[in-house]
């Protein structure tokens, strides 16, 4: 089983680092003393059944929630004290689709560029590149609400990546879309990772776990397994990630 292993390295060697990170809501402990570390440029999968505490953990990294105990660092910056600086360097795509349906594709991009303080010219340039990248160039003037869910999620990824963040936090980015759209979405994630972006992604689709460099499995607020997909299959002596997941959650 995974044991916490704080090293002598400093938090700035990691894209994301958590030590004993805990969040309680009243008497309920959503995240229970988790330790994890993500290297820059990694695609890190955050797996677990619904209600395991994945979203709460991500919200702490993004500065939306304060930890009750423990400490976390993003890019070497403390999530307790330096969340405002962290916000400039990360991109976040929340679980709930959260773009404006009554704005066009282009206007959504402009708005997110605006609240990150980007210049108009920079927004135009990056939007152009991103729209091409996610395949939405010809939909630019369409109202976001009229697009199919798969396209909306590509746009949400585009909005999260617009300001060129060093780390992307994606919370269930592929929830509710069909397998071929999910495949296409993961290709986009790969392309972003190839350019050096660290991707921290939660999912409950086991096939997607195979796409990640390393994964952690979380259940009831605890991390119960952590490693690369092939390592984990070896540890649990099973053939598929599905079985790894079931073993890890049962234990």
């Amino acid at each position: 089983m995974y044991k916490s292993n704080p090293t002598s390295e400093t938090p700035s060697d990691y894209a994301v680092l958590a030590q004993g990170l805990t969040r309680r809501f009243g008497r309920f402990t959503a995240v229970d003393r988790i330790d994890l570390s993500v290297r820059p440029g990694e695609i890190f999968g955050f797996l677990g059944p619904n209600g395991a505490g994945k979203t709460t953990a991500i919200r702490m990294f993004c500065g939306l929630l304060l930890p009750s105990e423990g400490e976390g660092w993003v890019n070497g910056l403390s999530i307790r004290k330096e969340s405002e600086i962290i916000k400039r360097r990360i991109g976040y795509m929340s679980q709930k689709f959260s773009l404006y349906n009554d704005l066009t594709v282009g206007e959504n991009l402009e708005f997110y560029g605006g609240i990150y303080g980007m210049k108009k010219s920079a927004i135009r340039e990056r939007s152009e590149a991103l729209l091409k990248h996610v395949g939405l160039v010809k939909h630019r003037r369409k109202l976001t609400g009229s697009l199919p869910l798969g396209y909306k999620q590509r746009l949400a990824l585009g909005c999260a990546a617009l300001h060129d963040p060093t780390i992307l936090f994606l919370d269930e980015p592929t929830g509710g879309v069909d397998p071929s759209a999910r495949r296409g979405f993961w290709e986009l994630i790969y392309e972003l990772a190839e350019r050096g972006t660290t991707v921290f992604v939660t999912t409950h689709y086991m096939d997607e776990a195979e796409y990640c460099g390393r994964i952690s499995i979380m259940t009831d607020g605890r991390i119960v397994a952590l490693g690369s997909p092939s390592d984990l299959k070896g540890t649990f002596n099973v053939k598929s990630m599905q079985d790894v997941f079931l073993r890890a959650v049962e234990s």
């Binding site: 500065g63 600086i85 929340s94 708005f111 997110y112 609240i115 980007m118």
Partner: protein, 368 residues
Amino acid sequence: MRRVIGIARKEILHILRDPRSLAVAILMPAMMVLLFGFAINLELRDLPVGILDMDGSSASRELIRSMTSSGFIVNGGYLSSRSEIEPGFRHNRFQAALVIPRGYARSLIRNPSTEVQILIDGADGATAATVDNYMNAVIAMTNRSSLPRSLAPSLPLLEARIRYFFNPQLVSAHFIVPGLVALIMVMICAILTSITVAREKETGTMEQILTAPVGAHQIILGKFIPYILIGAFDASLILAIGHLVLDVPMHGSWMVLAGYSMLYLLIALALGLLISTVSRTQQVAMMLALITTLLPTLLLSGFIFDHSSMPVVLQHLSKIVPATYYLRVIRGIMLVGRNWFPLEGGVMLGMTVVLLITAVRRFKSRLE
């Protein structure tokens, strides 16, 4: 500043894309001012009165003439018998009837007391009371003028002559239009602002915004700008209609009015924001805004009900309603021509500062 503009731009797009909120913002104020100004008229004019003149003398004709000469009461038709009075009420041909008995002219000369009968349709109590007062006044006047000259000086004629200052005709539009400005600004600013913030919480976009490096003050300012513009536009629209169409006078300075109105606008916006920080859904925000802003403005500010006729508890309660102060200011400026309101201005400034600080503090940049 780029962040503030980005948020304001997006907010304007939301309003433009939603025909309902656009209608609320622009059509409603125009509708309300015309409705209140023309249809809901608290004055009485051209009230038809049925007349049964059984005397047919020059004295009786004189009484009828003085009754109907002001335009307040008009001749609703001559009746030939008492039996026509009740059907007249029933069919709404007139609201009152004047019966002059046979021998009226003779009695006027001989008797110290002469009687005429006035019958009033009591179904509409307020109208009935006004008609009663008016007709009594005309009869009192007739009494005096018909007295023999020799007798007149010996009678102690005490009469109160009331003159209304600042709104000499007691035109209700003059009173209502300033109140409407106060009402509309609260509706637009407090209600729409609280809903727009609650909507972002509901759809989850607020969570997305909060992960961006944007401060609470920038979000708030960005959200305020479009509603300040709409609020100012609506206030101007109401005042323009009020001044040009309904002839509401402007004795004071437009600039002073604009200054106080801006202060009032900020209070309404801060209230809306404060409401949104305690409500999770649009419905809750809407209900809270109606209860805490719209109803007090409508009922307690002095817009419709005068403070002096309220129970003491409500009189005290009205002191925390911002519109109470704004109404005194706007009526003072427009109808009286006063331009300096140290008390009202001070209270409004205090309210603005306290509400804004509380709202910005309560507006959390984290999720709870």
